[in-house]
Symmetry: C2
Subunit: 343 residues, 2 copies
Amino acid sequence: MTQKLTIALDAMGGDHGPTVTVPAALDSVEADPRLHLILVGDEAILRQHLGEAATRYGDRLVIRHASEVVEMHELPSKALRNKKDSSMRVAINLVKEGVASACVSAGNTGALMAIGKFVLKTIPGIDRPAIIAILPNKQGGHVHMLDLGANIDCTAEHLFQFAVMAYELVRAVEDKDQPRVGLLNIGEEEIKGNEQVKQAARLLADSHLNFTGFVEGNDIFSGEVDIVVTDGFVGNVALKTLEGMAKMLSQSLKDEFGRNLFTKLAGLIALPVLKAFKNRFDPRNYNGASLIGLRGIVIKSHGNADRHSFGNAIQIGVKEVEKAVVSRIGERVENIFAERKSA
Amino acid sequence: MTQKLTIALDAMGGDHGPTVTVPAALDSVEADPRLHLILVGDEAILRQHLGEAATRYGDRLVIRHASEVVEMHELPSKALRNKKDSSMRVAINLVKEGVASACVSAGNTGALMAIGKFVLKTIPGIDRPAIIAILPNKQGGHVHMLDLGANIDCTAEHLFQFAVMAYELVRAVEDKDQPRVGLLNIGEEEIKGNEQVKQAARLLADSHLNFTGFVEGNDIFSGEVDIVVTDGFVGNVALKTLEGMAKMLSQSLKDEFGRNLFTKLAGLIALPVLKAFKNRFDPRNYNGASLIGLRGIVIKSHGNADRHSFGNAIQIGVKEVEKAVVSRIGERVENIFAERKSA
C-alpha cells in the first residue's frame, strides 16, 4: 500500500486564482497516482472550474469550502486578524490539523508567512522562518538561496540559522550529504562585509556545516556552492533583479527575431535551439519557494504563476513531504541546541 | 581653438595592464582629435607596447613614468601607504595638479577609492563618495545605479547624498532636466524596507529631486526610473549577480548552438540577429563606473576589460569632463547646505 500524500492548495490565491490552480491540480493528480489534493476555496466557483472532473479522481481531489480570499496587496496583519475563513488560512489549518502534509499558495507572501507563523508556529530553536528557492547554475545543476524577503534586518545568528535549515533541506531533497554553503558578501578585501556577515562567517566556520566561505553575486551561478545565505533584503533584491533582467532579455530576443522577414525566418530555423535554451532557464521550472522554519510545509508559488509553474510548486511540496524536511530540520536544530548547552 | 581635454590613464592597472590600456588609448586618440592622453606607468614597458606609435600623436599621447603598480588584491590601506609612485597614484596626482581633467583605471577598486579620497578629497558636504554605473533598460535606454560597493552600511543621509550626486550627474551627461530617482526596496508592504530606506525616502520626498518612490529589483530595467539608489552592499550584490547570470546565459546559448551540425547551421543563420541582441546588452558597452563625490573625475574600468571596454571607460571620462560634472555636483551640494542652514 502506498502512503497517503495529501496537499492542500489555496485554490483562490495568486493573480489568476482557480483558472490556474484547478488545471494545475488536475495535471498533478493525473501525473502522480499517490497524490491527494484538497482544493481550498469557494466551493461553487471551484466546482465550476472543475466541471466534469469534479468526481473523476474520487477522494484524491476534493474541495474544502472557504468563504474568503486574502487579496494580493492586503496587509498581512489585516489578513491574519480579519480573514479567518480565507482559502489561505484554511489551507494552512489543514496542515496544522494533520489533514494535509503541506500546503501550496500563490497568494500574498507576507500574509502567507504571517498566517503560517501564527497557525503552525516556528520550529523550536529557530528565531525566524525564511524563504528559500532554487535557481539554475551554469553546470546544469542548481543552487538554493535564502532568505528571499522574509527578514530584512538579520543578525549573524539569524543568518547562521538560515544556513542550518537550508543545509538539512538540501541534504534531504537533493540527497547530498555535505552541501556546500556560501555566505553572500561583496568583494572589497579590506571592508569585507558588514558586522553581521563577518560574525555569521565565524559561526558557520565553527559549525558542522560544509561552509566554503564568502561568495559574491556572480558566484551564485558558478556551481561551486549548493546553498547561498543572505539576509532578506539583499536576497529579495538579487532575485527580483534577476527576474527583471530575464524578462528584458527574453523580450529583446523576441524583438530582434521579429524585426523583419529575414530575422523571422532565422528565428524559425533557430527555434529548436532557442527552445532548449529557454527551457533550461525557464523560471516556470523553478517556481515554488519554501517557507522554511515553520512547523509544517508551506510552499509559496509566484503570484502570476501559470498552470505549469503552479504544478512545479506542488511538486516541490510533494518532495518536501516525502523527505520529511520539517522533522529533519527540527531534529538538527535540537541537536545544535543540546550541544550549545553542554558546551 | 578647441579646448584641451586631457585624461590620465593608469596604464598598468587591471588584469591585462598595457596589453589592453595601450591599444585602447591609441583607439581613443585616433577617434577623438580633441583628446590628449597621458599613459602613466613603467616607461620602458609602455614604450615597448606603443612601438612606432610612440611619437605618432605628438603631445596628444605621452608617457608619464611611474615605478610601481598596485596589485589587484593588495589591501587598499597598504597601497595608499606604500605605493606613492604607483601608476594609479600618479594618475590621480595628475588630476589633483590640474594636469589632467580625469583619470581612468582598471585597477583595484578599493585602492582607487582610498587613494582618490586621500589625494583629491571629497566634495564639501558629501560624507562618502560612491560608485555609480550605467545599465541598459528594456526601453532601449539606460539607468544609472549607485552605490555599487564603496559603502556597506549607509545611513539615510548617505543614501540621500548619493541621490543628490547622481541627479546632477545624470542631468549633466544625459541632458535630462528632471531625471527620475527610485530608491531600491523590497516588496513586502508592511515591513517595507529597513529604517534607513524609510528615512531616506522621506528625505528624498522633501527634496528638490524628482523622486518617484520605491522601486524593486525588477524595476531597475523597466525604464521607469533614470537613477536607482541603494547601499553599496545591495548594489554590489545586484550588479555581480547580473554579471554572473549574463555570463551563464551567454555560455549556455553558445553551448546550445554548438551542440551538433544542425544547431551550428541554425546558429550561423541566426548570427546577425544574435549579434544585434548581444550588442544591445554587451557589458563592454557599459564599462566605466564613476567614483562620484570626489573633487575630481575618477573612472573605474572593470578589471578584466578588453580594448573596446577600456575605450568605453575613457569615453565616460571624456563626457564627465565636458559636462563639468564635479563642479555641478559641488554647487548643488553647496546650495542644499545653504538651504538647510537657513531653514
